[in-house]
């Protein structure tokens, strides 16, 4: 691993001391580690909808973001929709990208690697005969996701690869996408 210059402390804007502190504290109080993430959605019109994210539960109490965050979604015109916002599957890609990238910053910080720039492009294949019900043997979801990172950092190519690999290992969205999750949808 490349050692940075001693006079310039590594700063990727991640408070790893706090994260390590949380790791130590939560290993003793597993119940505080139980979080509930929440989102609400309102239908607007057609395939256009608006999700709002504000509250969540964690560390044994109700928590709140600094302000409500709003995400709209729609479908593109080639789907005969209005294209008022990104497609839900694209938002999934954005979620994966943000989760992995946050992990890259945190792992790099923990390994004392200064990042100068990090960018990635994501591409996911999909055969839409699945969602259109044309062929029952075609799945609805992605048939694969390709993520390509470009990273400029004070580290060897092998160390950068190791940081990206470790960020996948610790990523929630990566896990959600690569492993099955039980989903229960009810009408209240």
């Amino acid at each position: 691993m490349t050692t940075p210059q001693a006079d310039k402390p590594v700063d990727n804007g991640v408070n790893v001391e706090a994260l390590f502190g949380a790791q130590a504290a939560l290993s003793k109080t597993p119940e505080a580690a139980r979080f509930k993430w929440r989102s609400t959605v309102e239908w607007i019109n057609g395939t256009h909808s608006r999700s709002t994210i504000e509250g969540f539960y964690g560390l044994g109490a109700e928590q709140k973001h600094k302000k409500p965050f709003v995400f709209e979604a729609d479908h593109p015109e080639v789907f005969a929709a209005q294209d008022a916002a990104a497609t839900p599957v694209e938002i999934v890609l954005a979620g994966l990208a943000s989760c992995l990238t946050a992990g890259v910053a945190a792992v790099a910080q923990a390994r004392k690697v200064q990042l100068r720039s990090v960018s990635a492009t994501l591409e996911a294949g999909m055969d839409i005969r699945g969602i259109l019900g044309v062929d029952e043997d075609v799945r609805n979801g992605f048939d694969g996701i390709k993520v390509t990172y470009k990273i400029d950092a004070d580290a060897s190519p092998a160390d950068i690869k190791a940081i990206v690999a470790q960020s996948q290992k610790r990523s929630a969205v990566y896990d959600i996408i690569t492993n099955p999750t039980n989903v229960t949808v009810e009408v209240a």
Binding site: K161, Q166, P180
Partner: protein, 402 residues
């Protein structure tokens, strides 16, 4: 341990639930050999005597090796003496066995980390027509029904079993989680020779960067075959074994595998390269570079562009599932509050600080990287017996149990 206790004139007795080398006799498959070369099984007062120091002992050879050592040490041994309870009492510990009860000042738990085969809960979802075996129950390919076999887990045991079952004509699907890749031979020398000379095997538990992680790592994905061939995923793929991701769920008779296989292989490749870099750096720094073959880097793990994410167990003709998903220790007889929420012993290098006089041996990275090797027992026993001697102080005549 008994050798060291005798040397320190500490009165003791060794309790064995069955025969000497019991686990080696009863819970190992037929073709298994030690994963370390014979020269490396160094025990206190006993080195290798023979003409094949680089070979790997079979189970029969391992049993007679341990029997021979037991004769040399001739410990105060009680065989067929299973312990049913270890509890605190007014002056130390009370150890209850089927052959009577001992009061003692100290107890060393040398029953190891590999007592109960861990089988994931999802095994309950496997259709009953499919036979399920753990690595402790598996014996040989011939004892399996003809047809497909799914091996779950790709550490040393899973990879070896996948190799021999597939060679028997039963097509194997290997579900791969986190694994530690290593070549059997590197630069013309056995990987364990390198682990030994570089001092990696001697690395101490209080010096390693992430101890929790080091203790959780699975074994090197290697075998002790006569031809010294590798059994990494590339070797198994070349053989025709189907490599899939970690077994995630069984639903309606279908297995689903994680899509994280590529990353787990990348992690294992990078880790292997770091190990080989460490070896190369050591060789260069110690003037060894000319005495051994030049460095090389094994090919990265080859993974299909789209490895299968699901397997219909019936359609794929799977008749048997072998769980190579690790073991955990059995402390069901231990009446002391020294286990964490996951049932693992809380200890500091084998010293159970919450129960003075209690010690544990043979756990992963207990005091050193080699703590689970036969070769690592001697140094750990020396250290722990010294600690025990000081715990006992000048009081003599104290019984204690290993």
């Amino acid at each position: 341990m008994s050798w060291w206790l005798a040397k320190r004139s500490i009165d003791h007795v060794v309790l064995e639930r069955g025969e000497v080398a019991n686990t080696w006799r009863t819970q190992r498959w037929d073709s298994l050999t030690l994963l370390t070369p014979s020269w490396q099984s160094r025990l206190p007062g006993h080195g290798y005597e023979g003409d094949d120091p680089d070979g790997f002992r079979t189970m029969d050879e391992t049993i007679s090796f341990i029997e021979r050592y037991a004769k040399i040490v001739s410990p105060p041994l009680r065989t067929h003496c299973p312990v049913t309870s270890v509890a605190i009492d007014s002056d130390g510990y009370q150890v209850v066995t089927e052959q009577g009860t001992w009061q003692c000042k100290g107890v060393v738990l040398a029953s190891g980390a590999f007592n109960i085969a861990q089988v994931p809960k999802l095994s309950q979802e496997i259709p009953s027509r499919i036979a399920q075996l753990t690595t402790a129950e598996y014996r040989n390919p011939g004892s399996l029904e003809p047809g497909g076999v799914m091996v779950v887990g790709a550490a040393a045991s899973g990879a070896q079993i996948a190799d021999e079952i597939h060679r028997s004509g039963r097509p194997v699907t290997l579900a791969v989680g986190e694994h530690v890749r290593a070549p059997r031979m590197y630069r013309g020398r056995d990987i364990q020779w390198w682990m030994d000379v570089t001092g990696l095997n001697d690395e101490r538990y209080d010096r390693v960067e992430n101890l929790r992680r080091a203790r959780a790592l699975s074994s090197f994905q290697i075998a002790g075959y006569r031809d010294r061939r590798n059994i990494d995923l590339n070797a198994l793929t070349s053989l025709g074994v189907s490599i899939v991701g970690r077994l995630a769920v069984i639903r309606d008779g279908k297995a689903q595998f994680s899509g994280s296989l590529r990353n787990l292989c990348e992690l294992a490749d990078l880790k292997q390269y770091r190990l080989l870099n460490t070896i190369d750096e050591w060789a260069a720094a110690n003037g060894m570079s000319d005495g051994v073959e030049p460095p090389h880097r094994p090919e990265p793990t080859r993974i299909d562009a789209s490895p299968p994410l699901g397997l219909d167990l019936r359609r794929a003709g799977i008749k048997t599932i072998v769980w190579a998903t690790g073991f955990r220790p059995d402390y069901s007889w231990l009446q002391l509050p020294v286990l964490d929420a996951k049932g693992n012993m809380r200890h500091d290098g084998g010293v159970v600080t919450e129960a003075p006089g209690l010690y544990v041996m043979g756990l992963p990275f207990l005091r050193r990287r080699k703590s689970t090797l036969i070769d690592g027992v001697g140094d750990d026993a020396r250290d722990l017996s010294a600690h025990l001697a000081s715990h006992l102080g000048v009081r003599s005549g104290s019984d204690w149990v290993a």
